[in-house]
Symmetry: D2
Subunit: 358 residues, 4 copies
């Protein structure tokens, strides 16, 4: 279970790091949407390994193929099926950990849950799985663009290096201009060289990805359990290595008084606006028309090049020594994944919002 | 939509703050479970308003009635229907804000989404809705107890007052011994008097609720989208006033190196354990048998007794002056709600884990 | 599980024949719909026992109460919670079959599935459960009326007494004018006296309910698994005692040639129509704008006043002798239930059809 | 929507008759199941076009590929992704009906629903879609075999040619020994030559597929909306060209008295059995351990080689003349599809039945 996401704009994914291929079905994409394959390809490139010196050097071409649901360049309303074949699998790389549980990986929990696992790497728990999310997310983004909604993520922290400015004071256009995807050029440089050091020390480090969604009309979301913020939180927490999610004032808001935190309403022309936006664009689980923004915390990548204590399937103590080609820090490649998951949530609620009306 | 939660242990709730009553249907509770009404009543008491000087003085009896699904003290496997009638509604209290949008409440977003709302207060967005969650959660807790799983939440922060000790160094037995529900007696005193000041200043403040789940067997949870941590995050973010969620090392983990953060495996008898638990008991979205722990951030209560700028439905600037009886800080009453939602998630995954096996 | 129905217009029900009460939550009813309680009450009356000499003489008042989701006579978009308390339970009537499995009832299967059951009658499997469906269905019908869609069921067969005329040649206005709910007055008389004989012989008999839905716009329904006809079939087959469902030409269509069965298209003004309607208004699982019509087969009521061979929970042979007050034939009271379930399906697809569009 | 089926053993399909390919994701197959590709291939062969003189002569190789979820011949518990590429599409065959609505096809309804359609044939509404169901159903059958449950369908009627014997008096082993898949050799011959005449007359005819499921333990199924019979009905009614479903006594049962229709209980060793099985193995929506049997009615294939009246997208009257290669009668190829859908329903309920227990 758990391989589908969304209600009306619903995706189901499959595939492991070392199987023949991965894929996704998008069920519920409205008919008539222009499907720009170049755009999808570009999104895939942003997630792809080997894109810079601070990401894994593993080569994966991430070539996708659309098998259904698109006719003469437009969605037909029927499910869009996409496949991404695995090419460079290098299974031999993994032989040495076949029966060992890599610390803070999913080896042990998968073994406990399923009693069997593809020992040639992370299998289904590998970040490779996110390629299907990005492919589907690209189509969700095309749908959002059609409705004037944009979503933009960026790296706001790596280890202790933290952007202090709020997103309003940043030039988000700069984000894609550097390999770390931080909109502040100076900070970007610092982060890059820091990650480079980490990489040389054969270790890894964590980071934070921030995200801003603009152009969301008021009234998107549901009350009670399926609050827009709850669904966004679930979407982000479903990404590999994520340990935390906060939106609007987040954990900092805890320290504020109600009198500071409340967002006063005023009118701008015929539009109701708020003077501040500690609510992060969501009140009572429903969008209020202001920007939606949130932060996602990523732990340090579990695969390190340093020997570690562990046990094997027989329960014997063993040493796990890192091999293969891995990311010293996951955040640069996580940026498009955060956008993809955010776009999937918004696309879903956008469709829902149009149904339950007289 | 959005008024149901869970897959196999599934609840659906209804009810507003000023309607005739609220209720919940629990669909999927296994047959034969002893339903201890006293236990449920006690859980309701923990959430109930007017329980101490630092909560709202509003009187709500929260008397529930089980209408179905229980026969001779045991669950029958058919849906358990419960209702909680509204008694002390004091609708007149709300007349003065009938057409005004209270800042950082859901008045405006509900109006935008539905074009109509019960102006006699929060309606469906009122924390009153959580009484149904606690009633259902109590039954989920009884199911977890049957399987040896316990869940305990406590207040770890109010404003700037923060418990620095990890839960392992606290005596969680102390939690219910004070009205703020903080297991550290000294800190509890500080928090209580701080909230009392806040109350006198007619303002409100936020806080953090921490939660620990013990006795979870390895293998609970699903990969990819329905990770155990993702579902826990959604559950917590669906609670009124929540702005953030983190589990295990959370946002702090971002600063660590992989070599520090990874949880080394070792064996204790025939059990596989981890030396540290930065993973928070969950790896790859699946429980590993260690304690699950997480934190939930609550913003300051939006209803304050101080005049605020706002607009009305006509878009005219108005002043909203707080009336009625409200909480200066939500966390003491949020503790049982956090436990209830956590228990619902665990109960659901517990049942799922028993299905998908040969 | 299995106590909810629908996707966007979704109901969840609870309650047993001998518990304190039954109820339903309607989640997804659009805001602003006028909720006419008189109309709902009237629908409940049509299902109610004791309404005529050919139905059970059991007295159940079927008084419902709306607890939420309606404000000043209109739906608010939040869940509509309704309860129906049980009054005349006469539990003692059932003592004699406490540990016996009544033939062709659900006693044995419930015992096998749950290991426990409310032996005071059918419990959850009692037709009493359908009162909640009718209450929810009445609101679905109000929604359909808002969109110009009408649904009308009638009795077309009792035992061998069968209406040969197609619905187009019947005056459906006559349906509610007789206690059997057959639109042909002569046939109605025959059916009534036949059922009366059956009743006197302490036996029961089956029947068929036919249903016509008019005013459905083209384009409602989904391809593949959730075809409109598949969902209608599931809805009908979920009603107690139903053994079969067919739509359009149904089982008779099997004997036809494609050249006879195909419905030729032509245009009437700017509307595309079909010359015949063997398709029953549905092609490829999607409505084509013609009338939707179908038939539902009900088996004879299982409770008879004649002694029957059976076994008890200990596996000993026993004799089950019918007591209590039961229906000699279920179809007159099934008419509003068939309409209710049909209305729920249409309401759901109506909302879905408005979501998945650009 | 509507391209997924099942709850715990859940499939999602995609693909059109003239796209690049089709596929299915099976989410929820328990880990450790032996996946016999030869068995799957054989099931696909049974559905495949061109298998005999009485089916379409269209050549489709129906070669499938398993891309994920299987490791070293066994299921891993992660989603099983399968693709079937389209080879012989012959798009040119369809140019002549590009803008015409073929009578009793889904051309018009898809156009109305989506505003766009793949005019190169049936697209998503083509029976080609069922290849993915059969592939997934084969794996469901392997799961059922593991639990000792068998499912067998056969042709019981073609036009007026009807098998009068109940399944108990037939040698179902004979079913696959003839090209019509009727277990009665004499009747099989008659049916084959009748279909051959129909084919020569360039027309088509309908038929009935019967199905028997043996070895189902008591207690499978859910009460109320998700009754086992309701889900089976939905599954069958979701198959192209199906117009009716009945189980057990079905529409004939309507004519019986309760005293004839009730299935008396008795004990056989420690097993509770019924003397008759008018219930069709299901009581109150839950299996009682007796054989489950049902019938599915298929209308005559809509594509005939005879000219027909219709309209085009512009609303002008046109003549549709059949071209291409189609089936004169769908039932021989429908047999494996009915089994596949039945197996999917049983597999799902089998898993559910193991979850909701203490």
């Amino acid at each position: 279970m758990g391989n589908s996401f969304g209600k009306l704009f619903r995706i189901s994914t499959f595939g492991e790091s070392h199987g023949k291929g991965l894929g996704v079905i998008i069920d519920g994409c409205p008919a008539g949407l222009k499907i720009d394959e170049e755009y999808i390809r570009n999104e895939m490139q942003r997630r792809k390994p080997g894109q810079s010196k601070i990401t894994t050097q593993r080569k994966e071409e991430d070539e996708f193929q659309i098998l259904s649901g698109v006719f003469e360049g437009k969605s037909t309303g029927t499910p869009i099926g996409m496949v991404i074949m695995n090419t460079d699998q290098k299974s031999k790389d993994y032989g040495h950990i076949a029966d060992k549980f890599r610390p803070s990986h999913a080896d042990y929990t998968y073994q406990e849950k399923y009693g069997i696992r593809d020992y040639r790497g992370g299998g289904r728990s590998s970040a490779r799985e996110t390629s299907a999310r990005v492919a589907a997310g690209a189509i969700a983004k095309l749908l959002l663009q059609h409705f004037g909604i944009s979503i933009q993520a960026y790296v706001s922290q790596v280890g202790d290096l933290k952007l202090t400015k709020p997103y309003q004071e940043l030039d988000l256009e700069q984000t894609e201009k550097n390999i770390i995807r931080c909109p502040d050029p100076e900070m970007a440089e610092e982060m890059i060289s820091f990650i480079d050091e980490i990489r040389k020390s054969r270790d890894t480090v964590g980071g934070v990805v921030s995200c801003v969604i603009k152009g969301v009309p008021p009234g998107l979301g549901e009350p009670v359990f399926d609050r827009l913020n709850a669904e966004l939180g679930k979407a982000m927490l479903s990404i590999n290595a994520v340990k935390g999610f906060e939106y609007g004032s987040g954990f900092e808001g805890v320290k504020m008084r109600g009198s500071e935190h409340n967002d006063a309403f005023y009118t701008e022309g015929d539009k109701v606006r708020t003077r501040t936006n500690h609510s992060g664009g969501i009140q009572g689980g429903i969008s209020n028309g202001e920007d939606i923004y949130f932060k996602v915390a990523f732990k340090p990548v579990a695969t390190i090049m340093i020997d570690q204590e562990s046990v094997n399937e027989a329960g014997e103590s063993v040493t796990v020594s890192g091999k293969g080609r891995h990311d010293p820090c996951v955040v640069p490649r996580a940026v498009p994944i955060v956008e993809a998951m955010g776009a999937l949530v918004l696309a879903d609620y956008l469709l829902i919002s149009r149904a339950n009306k007289l």
